[in-house]
Subunit: 416 residues, 2 copies
C-alpha cells in the first residue's frame, strides 16, 4: 500500500480524489500497488464525503507521518505551497504538483533538493492540463535537440480569441461569456495579460534547454489589446490570432522567449486549436515538428495528469526519475529587442492611404505589404512589415506616430 | 558505458547510428551513461564508415557477447527478426524495436518473455515514427480509461489522399508521385491496402486495452477504391477522406476495431493532418480527447524514437519498465458486422435521380440524405445513409445492386 497526502481540496485536489476513486482498481494494477489517500490538508470543512475523516488543518500531521511517501500539492499560489513542498522534500517525501507558479518560480531549487534527497518532484499537470507534455519532452524526445517550442498554453484566452474569430464578439463580450461559463476568473488578469502562459512556457523552456528561465525575464504581452479589426486583418492575411508562448534556441546558445498574440497561418496545426483547448508544438532537430493537443485545463483532465505522476512515483520509489534542470544563469535569455520580427501593423490617419504612404516612407516601400480588410475603415490601413528587429520596429512605429499616424495595433507574425 | 548492438543497417538502423553520433554528448548526459554501438548485424558490406569495424554477419557474435545489454532490432519483417529478438530476451538482453509487424504479431509473447526475465522490450518507434505515443498511452494516460483511439497511422496513404484532395490527382497519379518521392515502395500494397495501418492500430489497441489484438482479426480496407468523385462528395459533405485505424471499447467489454477510409469532418483535429504526417486521437474518460501529431515515418524521426527507448533502457537496466499486455482471448474483438454505421454511398443508374429514388425506397426516405456534388455526373447520386449496422448496410446495398443500381463507393463516416 502506498500512502499519499493531498494538499488543497479545491478544483484539482478534489478531482484527484475523484480520479483515484473512479479508477481504484486499474490504478492499483498500473502502479503495482494500491494507493490510499491518508490525509487531505484544507482549512475548510468538507463533511459528508466518503473521505471526510482524512481532512486535517495542520500540515504537521502530514509532515510527521512517516507512512506518507508522496505528497500531492494542489493548493496553487506560491505560499504556503512552496514552504510545504520544501518541507516535504527535506523530510523524505516525494512531491507531485499541478502548481505552475510554483514550478516556474522555484523549479530549479526544488528539483535540486529532490535530487539531493533521492526523491521525485513531478509536475506533468502544470503545463497543458491533461495533455502529456512534460514526460514526452523529457523522455520520448530525449534523442533530439529541441530547437523550438511554441504553444497555445492558456485555454481561457484561446476561448476568448475563438469567440472573437468565429462569432465576432469583441474582447469584452467574449471575456464576459468566458466568466459566465466558468472559464475565466472574476479577476481575469493572470489569463488575459499572459501571466499564466508565461509560467508555462518558462517550465517548458527550462525542461527543454536545461536551464531555469524565470517569468520575470520573459517579455509578455496579453490579448487585451486585440480587436475585431485585427481579427479581420488576420483573416485577410490568411490566418488567425492566437496567444503564443514560444521559446527558441539561438545559435549563440541563448534562448529567445516570449509570450504575445500572434498571427498564425491557417495551414498550421496550431491554427485549428480552438476554444479551451491547448496545442503545443515541439520542434526537434531529428523528429521535426511534433504537436500535442488536448484540454489544457479543467478538473478531471488536470487531476488525471496528477494521478499519472503519482502512479509513476509509486513505481519509482526506489529509482528516482531524472527530471532536472540547472538554475538560471546570466545572459541565457536573449535581449528581446535584438530579435528579428515580422509584424502586422494597423494604423490610422486622415485616410488609410495616408497612413500607408507614411509607413512606406518610414519602413521602405519593399518592406511593407498592405492588407485589404474585409470590412475596411476609411481611416485605417493594415500592413505587414518585414526585415526589422524588435528595436527598429518600435523605433519606426514611434516615427510613424511622430508624423501624426496613430498606431492602433502591432501583432507579431509566427513562422509555424 | 552501455554497449548495444544494432540488427539491420537499413534506413532505420543507419539512422540510429546517425542520431547516436550527432548527439553523443547530450544522450550520454540524459542516459547518465555513455552508449556505444559495439556490433551491427547486416549481411551487406559497409566499407568506409567510421564504424565499419563493428559489422558482423553472424548473429552469434552479438548473442554471445555478455557486454551487450541492449539489442536494437531494425530489420523489419517477421523472420529472422522474431527469432533474434526471442534469443536476445532469452539470453539477458533487453530489446528495442521499430518493427511494427513483429510487435503486432508477437507482442504478447515477447512482452511475457521480457517480463519473465526482468528485461525491457520497448517499441516506441513502431507506431507514429517520431511521435511519442506508446509511452504517453502507457504512462501519462495511466489514470484514464481509454475509451477510443483513432488515427491517421500511415504517411504514404495520407500523402496520396492529400494529393487527391488538394491537387485533384487521381489515385494512380498520386501513388506514382509518392513512389517517385520515395514515400511509397515499388510494391505499395502494405500501405495502400491498409496492412501497415492495421498493424499499428493493433499495437495501440493491445496497449490501451491490455489484450493482444492480432492483425488477422481486424477488418481492413485500403484506399485503392477511393476516387476523385468520392473526394468531391466528402468536400460537399463538409470534410475530407482519411485512412483511419480505430478501436473503441464497447460496453460489453469487447472492442470494435477497424481500418478503413473515412469521411472526417473539417473541424476535426484529424482533418488537418496532411501529407506524410500522422495524427493519433486518444479519447480518455477523464482527459477527453488528446491528439498527437507529427512525422509518422522517415529515417531520423523513427531513429530518434528508437534512441529514446535505448536511453530509457539504459536508465532502467535494473528497474524494468512496466509495458505489458495479455495474450489474445476469444471474443475480445467484436464481430464488425453488428456495429452501427453511418456511411456515404455513391451509386449510379440511368440517372442519378433514379439511383437516389431506389436508395430511398430501400433504406427508407428519412434515413438517406442526398449530397449534391460540386461537379455532378448525370448518372450518379451521392448520399449519406444513417441508422444501419454493417450487416444491414451490406444487405441493402446488395438489394440496391439487385435493382440495377450500381454501387460505386461506400465510405464510412467518422464521429471525431
Amino acid at each position: 500500500m502506498a500512502y499519499i497526502a493531498v494538499l488543497g481540496h479545491g478544483v484539482v485536489g478534489s478531482g484527484v480524489l475523484e480520479v483515484l476513486t473512479i479508477h481504484t482498481e486499474s490504478i492499483a494494477k498500473r502502479a503495482k500497488e494500491r494507493i490510499e489517500v491518508k490525509r487531505i490538508l484544507d482549512l475548510r470543512e468538507f463533511p459528508g464525503l466518503a473521505y471526510s475523516g482524512c481532512f486535517t488543518k495542520d500540515f504537521a500531521d502530514i509532515l510527521s507521518d512517516a507512512e506518507i511517501g508522496i505528497v500531492v500539492e494542489c493548493m496553487g499560489g506560491l505560499h504556503p505551497a512552496y514552504d510545504y513542498v520544501r518541507a516535504c522534500l527535506e523530510n523524505g517525501k516525494s512531491v507531485v504538483t499541478s502548481n505552475k507558479e510554483l514550478v516556474a518560480e522555484k523549479g530549479a531549487e526544488l528539483l535540486a533538493l529532490a535530487q539531493k534527497n533521492n526523491l521525485n518532484f513531478l509536475f506533468e499537470a502544470s503545463v497543458g492540463g491533461g495533455i502529456p507534455i512534460i514526460r514526452p519532452i523529457s523522455q520520448c524526445l530525449a534523442a533530439n535537440e529541441v530547437s523550438e517550442i511554441a504553444g497555445i498554453l492558456n485555454g481561457t484566452t484561446n476561448f476568448i480569441l475563438t469567440k472573437m474569430i468565429r462569432e465576432h464578439m469583441d474582447f469584452s463580450q467574449a471575456l464576459k461569456l468566458a466568466q459566465e461559463l466558468g472559464y475565466a476568473e472574476r479577476d481575469p488578469s493572470a489569463d488575459v495579460e499572459g501571466t499564466d502562459a508565461c509560467r508555462k512556457i518558462c517550465i517548458l523552456a527550462s525542461l527543454a534547454f536545461g536551464t531555469h528561465v524565470y517569468p520575470n525575464c520573459v517579455y509578455t504581452e496579453g490579448i487585451t489589446g486585440v480587436t475585431l479589426e485585427d481579427v479581420d486583418f488576420a483573416d485577410v492575411w490568411g490566418g488567425v490570432i492566437k496567444l503564443i508562448g514560444s521559446v527558441k534556441r539561438l545559435e549563440n546558445g541563448q534562448v529567445h522567449i516570449m509570450v504575445c498574440p500572434m498571427f498564425v497561418h491557417r495551414g498550421s496545426q496550431l491554427a485549428s486549436v480552438d476554444d479551451v483547448f491547448n496545442g503545443i508544438l515541439v520542434r526537434g532537430d531529428v523528429t521535426g515538428d511534433v504537436v500535442f493537443y488536448g484540454k489544457g485545463a479543467g478538473k478531471l483532465p488536470t487531476a488525471s495528469a496528477v494521478v499519472a505522476d503519482v502512479i509513476d512515483c509509486v513505481k519509482h520509489m526506489a529509482a528516482r526519475k531524472y527530471l532536472f534542470w540547472e538554475d538560471a544563469k546570466p545572459g541565457f535569455v536573449a535581449d528581446p529587442n535584438v530579435a528579428e520580427v515580422t509584424a502586422y501593423v494597423r494604423a490610422s490617419a486622415e485616410t488609410g492611404d495616408a497612413a500607408f504612404t507614411a509607413a512606406q516612407e518610414i519602413f521602405g516601400g519593399e518592406n511593407v505589404k498592405r492588407l485589404l480588410a474585409n470590412t475596411p475603415k476609411p481611416e485605417e490601413a493594415g500592413f505587414v512589415v518585414d526585415g526589422e528587429t524588435e528595436a527598429s520596429l518600435a523605433e519606426k512605429l514611434g516615427a510613424l506616430a511622430a508624423r501624426g499616424v496613430r498606431v492602433e495595433s502591432r501583432i507579431r507574425i509566427s513562422d509555424y
